[in-house]
Amino acid sequence: MSEFASEIISYTSGALRNRVAEDIVMEAERSDVNTFDVQNLDLYYDKVQALKHISMEIRKHEITALIGPSGCGKSTFLKTLNRMNDWVTGCTVTGQVLFEGRDIYKEVDPLALRYRVGMVFQQPTPFPKSVFDNIAYGPRVQGMTDKHKLEEIVEQSMRQAAIWDELKDRLHKSALGLSGGQQQRLCIARTLAARPSVILMDEPTSALDPISTQKIEDLALELKEKYTIVIVTHSMQQARRISDKTAFFLLGDLVEFNDTVDMFTNPSDAQTEAYITGRFG
């Protein structure tokens, strides 16, 4: 069992502890498998089909960008990866989404899944609490009470999110007073504190200025050393700058999934070419 797995197990408890621990051990044992293997995924909102026969492999320690015009299904697809669509009334999913080899709709507890597959949203969503309490929120919910351990996790998460130097002297001030860029990095730190292996990002920079955007992009490139990242973006420049793989969605179809460099130099599908060169969309 990895040191990391032992650490997590040490501060979780009861049924939750077992679920989280089981997943982590599984992850440690299966380091060679893809983070996600999606096979023939169909998703309906009542009778409207939002995703059509999607098959895709998302590899460990890569950044995968999801692009496409509004309403193409990219955010819907992102939310299937940690079962956030479970809360949408009338949403039904068929097909398989394997997370590190296990079917997330049959074999993995959704709560445990969401600890492992964290999410960052378009608008920063700090809780009306202090910086410290925002970041310590996940570990506390997971059962951690050791003050020193919490401090250690908060600092480590803030360092990983490149926000420690800016906020180390404001840990007990309200997170609501931070700038938009700081709030978004705080949310990333909060996600990291829950010890995920995947970070889903849904247009994480669309509400930010160029400097904050650059910081988030630099951060994503650093984080992929330890995490798998899937990002929805409307900025094709952003997809080009940071992603290893890009998936182009259109009207619920996965039109093309390719190495980013290949897609942006020589796309294999005419619809991809038309979209990325601005000829429609």
Binding site: R240, F264, T265, P267, E273, I276, T277, G278, R279, F280
Partner: protein, 215 residues
Amino acid sequence: MRDAYIQSLNELSVRVTKLGEKIEGVLAETWKALSVLDIKKADQIYRGDDDIDDMVRDYMKRDLTLGVTQSPVATDWRNLMSTFKILSDLERIADHCSDISHYIGLLGREPERIKTPPELDVMYSVMAAMVRDSVKAYAEGDDGLAEQVRDRDDIVDAAFARIMDHLAHAMETDSRHVRQYMDYILIVKYIERMADHSVNIANWVLYRIRNQIVL
């Protein structure tokens, strides 16, 4: 739709094609001057090179501006990249016309002219056809024609070797006209380089169409 951007891309391709056709005309004039050592025509060609430089500079600027302002990708990116490289090769071909014109001036002023080296006309006409077809391949997106241009470079290289042998032998046997033979050596080398530039243009056409870097 990015109408203005797409229109600008298309306009640039048309302008570069017209520049290529203009240089084809300069090549034809250069041969007329070279074949009879017409000093006056050679001087006109020499002075006309500045106009071509201005056009190349203008089109390169347009190309770079589109690259900076529009963040092109895929075919558009390859189009702009290849166009920029092709402009550079066209400019060098025009420069070599100017270089040849300089030596036409020197040869034309010799009181006792030597004969034009054999096969020079064949070598020049193959090279000029290669330039013409490389520009046509660019304009029409014809990768088959670009391949043909590449293949024909062997004909030019073989003619170059034979003419050089002839000139080397002539210099050994006719030392009085060594200076003129040396001028022809430079002219033949320029022709061989112009063929190489047409191959470069063909290679960038292949890159634009096939996304393959060919050298």
